[in-house]
């Protein structure tokens, strides 16, 4: 289909966008680059998210190494002050918005629909739009390095340091509008996931039968939905201050810089749970499978997740204990912060109880999952010390805090995500990752992590503030800084082991993954690896939590698992894995068609962003904002005019969706609590 290799010019789109059959033909390639660019398949979008986020992870990691090189010795000269401030700002912004969030989103995308027995998400094209907005937002942010300097106000961007008086360059503008674009991407995908989970679960899958990872996806999505608007508002206020001379955060004109801090942390604290809850979900999937036991206290795990989600909104002032808000506010938030440790502690004990008296197979995913429990506990304990406000007066804004949140976001989120990667890799790519390399990956990761971040607790308490590009020899901080830098490079080695493992497992020593390599519990393991593009030949009917496990095992009188004769995976059975995914013929399953327009619409966002950035210094550039808006609107209009699925061949019966973008064939699964009948058209 070479005729459509040229995307239409924006002008063409904005002038005549409606006639999609006349102007541009629907993309139809099943393979190749264009099939990825136009894909609306949640699995492919998940892979795109994962690959993109991993590349940003490498960028953020290189930034981290530069920071550690600069701080390896006192009075370092690797980076100057200006470069250091840019690099630490971009490191934080990257790891939060371009790495951990999208890595979680990769798994939301790929796994959640499989776990709930759906064929796609509720709004497949919107899903593609989210991905492209995320990619463009990230590239937009990184383009600042080439366009006169990256943002240098920290990922928290405290006013008034980010005002044009103190930050006259364009770096902060890139940060403001880059985050706005990323916020759009996150909010849109949160809506998509929530609708998917509430409406498209397989028949019989009540909410309390939903796999725990999907539950954490749901909670996380709700947090994104409510947290992102807060940062959006804050960023708009800042943009008005910078672009149009408003004074929201300017104390000289009656504005209040502390307002920024409140807004930022009302977003920022739920954001922490947005980053950690998905990893908690992954670990809660891995521990039972590799312990051969169900998750201990599933309902309590669900409700503690919800409790964390709710309480996460009431603790933001613990980021501001040194602001001087007065004893009443500080006491109230001190208490609320302490008590959010309770549901978190419950989770830790339930995870340990899950492994207790189990049959623990210490494969790589399990090592990462148990590493998560151990390391996250340390982050949780140092978190409680922050909650004790007078305690915090000594350690806030020091390396002790840097240690704390790396134990939460690296020891927690990234350990959990690595567990998830090793666990689901066979499902996603149909290839087993090498175990020996995996174990080397884990142990170097574990060692490097503790060497890099453990000493930071000590450094902080010994008086090393955060965000300093240099420190003096006289402070006595030399030894631990050097240890930390060495640890950072061990982590870098570990990451290269991981990449080598991927290459080795795919190119050198490929082992085809069976559908269910780990003897797992949830529905994604009931289909082939990788899954066929329609996921389930027949939408499964769910009878229990851990549905797939219960198809394989029953319990004897002593409560021990016994194989069900003829069950999937038992001897002589290959029924579970016979539906290989290479053919979409013979099933009559009609999936949503690919589309150009999510990409086109998303492309309008960075164009608007550049217009806003340069509009501040030259008013004419605001014209570019209008151009970007036209691209966005044109893309959305063409998208709206395009049916969600094209008829594939004449005479085939196509069920038109009731609502826009709804995959036509999987709409009936979600009623609860009673199992709805399977959609009759799906398996014929």
């Amino acid at each position: 289909m070479t005729t459509v290799l040229e995307p239409p010019s924006p002008e063409a789109l904005t002038t005549a966008p409606a006639d999609d059959t006349g102007l541009m033909r629907r993309p139809t390639e099943p393979q190749g680059v264009w099939s990825w660019i136009t894909t609306v398949d949640h699995k492919r979008i998940g892979i795109l998210y994962g690959v993109t986020a991993f590349i940003f992870f490498l960028a953020g990691g290189i930034e981290a190494l530069l920071l550690r090189l600069q701080l390896a010795k006192p009075n370092g000269t690797v980076l100057g002050a200006a470069a250091y401030n840019e690099v630490f700002t971009m490191h934080g912004t990257t790891m939060v918005f371009l790495v951990v969030m999208p890595l979680s989103a990769a798994f939301f995308n790929f796994m959640m629909p499989l776990q709930i027995g759906a064929r796609d998400v509720a709004f497949p094209r919107l899903n593609a739009f989210s991905y492209w907005a995320f990619l463009f937002g990230g590239l937009f942010l990184y383009s600042s390095f080439l366009l006169g300097g990256a943002p240098d106000g920290g990922w928290f961007g405290y006013a008034p340091n980010t005002s044009i008086v103190f930050s006259p360059g364009h770096g902060i503008d890139f940060w403001v509008f880059g985050l706005q674009i990323l916020g759009i991407a996150s909010t849109v995908s949160a809506v998509n996931f929530i609708v998917t989970m509430l409406n498209m679960r397989a028949p019989g899958m009540t909410l309390m039968r939903m796999p725990i990872f999907s539950w954490m996806t749901l909670i996380s999505s709700f947090l994104i939905l409510f947290a992102m608007p807060v940062i959006t508002v804050a960023l708009f206020l800042l943009a008005f201050d910078r672009n149009f001379g408003a004074n929201f955060f300017n104390p000289a004109a009656g504005g209040d810089p502390v307002l920024w801090q409140h807004l930022f942390w009302i977003f920022g604290h739920p954001e922490v749970y947005i980053l950690i809850l998905p990893a908690m979900g992954m670990v809660s999937e891995v521990l039972p499978v590799f312990s051969r036991k169900p998750l201990f206290g599933y309902p309590v795990m669900v409700f503690s997740g919800i409790a964390i989600g709710f309480m996460g909104w009431g603790v933001w002032v613990h980021h501001m204990f040194s602001v001087g808000l007065g004893p009443v506010a500080v006491s109230a938030f001190s208490l609320s912060t302490m008590f959010i440790a309770v549901p978190t502690g419950v989770k830790i004990f339930n995870w340990i109880a899950t492994t207790w008296k189990g049959s623990l197979k210490l494969s790589t995913p399990m090592l990462f999952a148990m590493g998560f429990v151990a390391m996250f506990t340390i982050g949780g304990l140092s978190g409680v010390t922050h909650a004790v406000a007078p305690h915090d007066r000594q350690q806030t804004d020091t390396y002790y805090v840097v240690a704390h949140f790396h134990y939460v976001l690296f020891g927690g989120a990234l350990f959990g995500i690595m567990a998830g990667i090793y666990y689901w890799w066979p499902k996603i790519f149909g290839t087993m990752l090498n175990e020996r390399l995996g174990k080397l990956n884990f142990w170097t990761w574990f060692l490097g992590f503790n060497m890099a971040f453990g000493p930071m607790h000590i450094l902080g308490l010994q008086g090393m503030p955060r965000r300093i590009y240099t420190y003096d020899d006289s402070l006595g901080l030399n030894v631990w800084n050097m240890v930390s830098t060495v640890g950072a490079f061990i982590i870098a080695f570990s990451v290269s082991v991981f990449m080598f493992n991927i290459w080795h497992s795919h190119k050198r020593n490929r082992v085809q993954a069976p559908g269910d390599p780990w003897d797992a519990r949830t529905l994604e393991w009931s289909i082939s690896s990788p899954p066929p593009h329609y996921n389930f030949a027949e939408i499964p009917t769910v009878h229990a939590l851990d549905e797939f496990w219960h198809r394989k095992y029953t319990e004897d009188d002593d409560g021990r698992p016994v194989r069900v004769a003829g069950s999937p995976g038992s001897e002589g059975d290959d029924a579970a894995h016979d539906d290989h995914g290479d053919d979409d013929h013979g099933h009559g399953i009609h999936m949503p068609s690919p589309s150009y327009f999510p990409l086109v619409a998303a492309f309008g966002l960075p164009v608007m962003g550049y217009g806003m950035v340069y509009g501040r210094s030259s008013g004419q550039s605001y014209v570019v904002v209008v151009l970007g808006a036209l691209i966005l609107l044109g893309g959305l209009f063409a998208w709206a005019m395009e049916p969600s699925a094209e008829p594939e061949e004449e005479g085939q019966e196509v069920i038109e969706p009731a609502t826009d973008d709804q995959p036509a064939l999987v709409t009936a699964g979600g009623e609860e609590p009673a199992p709805a009948p399977a959609p009759e058209e799906s398996g014929s």
Partner: protein, 336 residues
């Protein structure tokens, strides 16, 4: 492998803890765990027991994880563990127990919060207005007619009431051995009490990211005996004497010609407001945000190119000749 790895971590942690305890304060001038005054002591009184509780929980949880990993490893693929789905009583137990521990901690926390927020009062109290600037500290003693920079001088055994505000962005005032940190915010005034038990020099620095040279915004608190402090005040409240002859005299003239006077106050000679008051510069041990020791060599390097020494410094490179620098230093050395 598991055992070795865990042991390694454990030994690292223990070694770290030991080093933390054993380090003398001579080597760690900003050690927050080495309180040298009643305010920092109140924080430490809370910090130490909280760390102890955390250590107990740490050992408990890590022990359970480690025990589970070692004890329940799969030895045969036929193992069929009992399928325990949960236990309401146990789960209730490990919900309530941490909540009770936290309840106890919270009582002491709230007590300490009330205590450290109490404003210093009484005739004995020394008042100081602290102003944060990018990137140096200004200390004004309103009752004593003294203005100085980067070094806060206080008497021992007396409460010092600091009123903190900022001239530009947000900073944070942190002398770790004497008190926890408190933000210094433009348009707001924050209040902080400080007290040192013994005479000595206590290190500190700005703890809130405040732009390019945040790392170079350091400070010293110098505690004197009350008698020495009164002497220090007497010296610093007096106007500077202006030299009229020799290199110093030419330096004084250059101080005006080159524009130094438009930013720096020298009591009795100039009234600039942007930079630090230099009236009794030689009373200080450090300059430029307490980043450099005050001596002839450092002043010379500094005057050649201030922004090169402290990135972003508002003091510009005045393109001074070596001769001019020599004269200016000669003048500055008279500011005793």
């Amino acid at each position: 492998m598991t055992r070795a790895g865990r042991l390694r971590t454990l030994s690292t942690t223990v070694a770290a803890a030991l080093l933390l305890v054993s380090c003398g304060d001579q080597e760690l001038p900003q050690n927050a765990l080495d309180p040298q005054g009643p305010v920092a002591q109140k924080l430490a009184n809370l910090i130490n027991p909280v760390f102890a509780v955390a250590a107990v929980v740490f050992v408990l949880v890590q022990g359970l994880v480690l025990y589970s990993a070692l004890r329940f490893r799969r030895r045969s693929d036929d193992e069929a563990p009992r399928q325990v789905h949960g236990n309401a009583k146990m789960e209730l137990g490990w919900t309530i127990a941490p909540a009770l521990i936290l309840l106890v901690i919270s009582v002491f926390t709230v007590g300490t919060i009330a205590d450290i927020n109490r404003k210093a009062e009484g005739a004995d109290v020394v008042s100081v207005n602290v102003t944060g600037h990018q990137w140096w500290w200004e200390f004004e003693y309103p009752d004593r007619g003294v203005v100085t920079a980067n070094e806060l001088h206080i008497p021992t055994g007396r409460e010092v009431a600091l009123r903190l505000t900022s001239d530009d962005v947000i900073h944070s005032f942190w002398p770790p051995k004497l008190a926890g940190k408190l933000d210094v915010i433009p348009g707001r005034a924050n209040f902080m009490t400080l007290e040192a038990d013994e005479p000595g020099t206590y290190f500190g620095q700005c703890a809130e990211f405040c732009g390019l040279s945040h790392a170079d915004m350091r400070l010293r608190v110098v505690a004197h005996t009350p008698e020495d402090f009164d002497e220090w005040v007497r010296t610093n409240a007096a106007p500077a004497e202006r030299p009229t002859e020799g290199e110093a005299g030419e330096g004084a003239a250059l101080f005006r010609q080159k524009g130094c006077a438009s930013c720096h106050t020298v009591n009795g000679y100039s009234a600039g407001e942007l930079g630090p008051d230099l009236t009794h510069l030689q009373q200080r041990k450090v300059f430029a945000g307490a980043t450099f020791d005050l001596n002839e060599q450092n002043l010379r390097v500094w005057l050649r190119d201030p922004p090169g020494e402290k990135p972003g410094s508002l003091m510009p490179n005045l393109e001074l000749s070596e001769d001019e620098i020599t004269k200016l230093i000669a003048y500055l050395e008279t500011l005793k």
